[in-house]
Amino acid sequence: MAPTVREASADQAEFLDELLAAGLLLDSGVPGVYGHDETFEDVRERLADRLSAEAAQRGAQRLRFPPVLPRRQLESSGYLSSFPHLAGNVYAFDGDEGAAQRQSERAAAHEDWSEFQQPTELSMMPAACYPVYPAIARRGRLPEGGVFVDAGGAWVFRHEPSHDPMRRQIFHQHELVRIGEPDAVLEWRDEWANRGLEILRGLGLPAELDVANDPFFGRRGRMLARNQQADKLKLELLVPIAGPEPTACASFNHHRDHFGSTYGLELADGSTAHTACLGFGHERIVLAMLRIHGLDPARWPVSVRAQLWPQKGRDERVEHD
């Protein structure tokens, strides 16, 4: 299948060229799939540590999951109804030796070999919070006060190939998840939206908080998007990086009882829990910093470096100057 590739604006294309030329991004040949060099990864890992430290200070427990989701969970989550265009599944060979031979020949000639492939029980991870809900539900009723989970910067997949360097098919989404009483969950979401704004502004990014909606599919999706906007269920931190619109670098999502009822998450009194999640896009935040402060993090302003390298920021700056 040759999917439609979203075009980049002139400044997005230019930014991508600069990132590749500087070696910060490593081209795979597939739009929206890039490796990172050590400089990029150092910033991204520092950002991940900073976010996890903020969460740990406020009582988060760390859970980590692989970047694949059991297909049955994708099927029962409603994702295929809301985002059929973004989902990806893992397929694998199913056949005898003759089929293997024909598959190999067709693949070597870059012809269609999909008839030899069958869906496995795995899907690509669509959002880093998805494995958290059933894992917590399996523990039984929630403790008093609910739970706060730091799911870390996990790889997630969205099938939306693009030449815009900010729109990846696979990227690190750092999710924090809150499961608990309805009022407490909403309060937590709003409190973290403001904390997120402070964190990004502390990194020298001109972030703004705004009401947003998910990219739901089709006519059904247009109505879901408007409902989501009207209920202010999704907030985003937007940063102008390149292109006609600012880029969403973090989102703060209130699910009400959607996941609570889907996965049987129960409060201590047996009623259905509410959930909220925050997603920080590691790569987008790093790209925003590279765009705004320059492609060499060693030369970033001391105040910005101090946010990510708390002890060493000042000393390193002196060395490089």
């Binding site: 109804s81 059904r220 247009r222 109505m223 879901l224 408007r226 959607h258």
Partner: protein
């Protein structure tokens, strides 16, 4: 079709699709369906079922929360679309 029949049909669609914790027959025509427990996803299923039931298509501008917020709002949306459709 009289407006009474339309309202009865809308209640029927709500009973099948709205997943309300109450019987849609007991709701007043002006009562807020979202307040009564209809979720966003359920409202979309209601919209699609109404299109099937009345053989209409809601234009993009009508795919809003307000248009599906009460039985009365749905009835007026359905009536305005049926008035545009030639009988047949």
């Amino acid at each position: 079709m009289s407006s009474d029949e339309t309202v009865a049909d809308i209640r029927g669609v709500l009973a099948e699709q709205a997943r309300l914790p109450v019987d849609p027959g007991s709701l007043g025509v002006d009562e807020d369906l979202f307040g009564a427990g209809m979720t966003s996803h359920a409202s979309v299923n209601v919209m699609l079922a109404l299109e099937d039931r009345f053989d209409i298509e809601f234009p993009d501008a009508m795919l809003t929360r307000d248009a599906f917020s009460s039985i009365g709002a749905i009835a007026s949306a359905v009536s305005s679309l049926k008035a545009e459709t030639p009988a047949g």
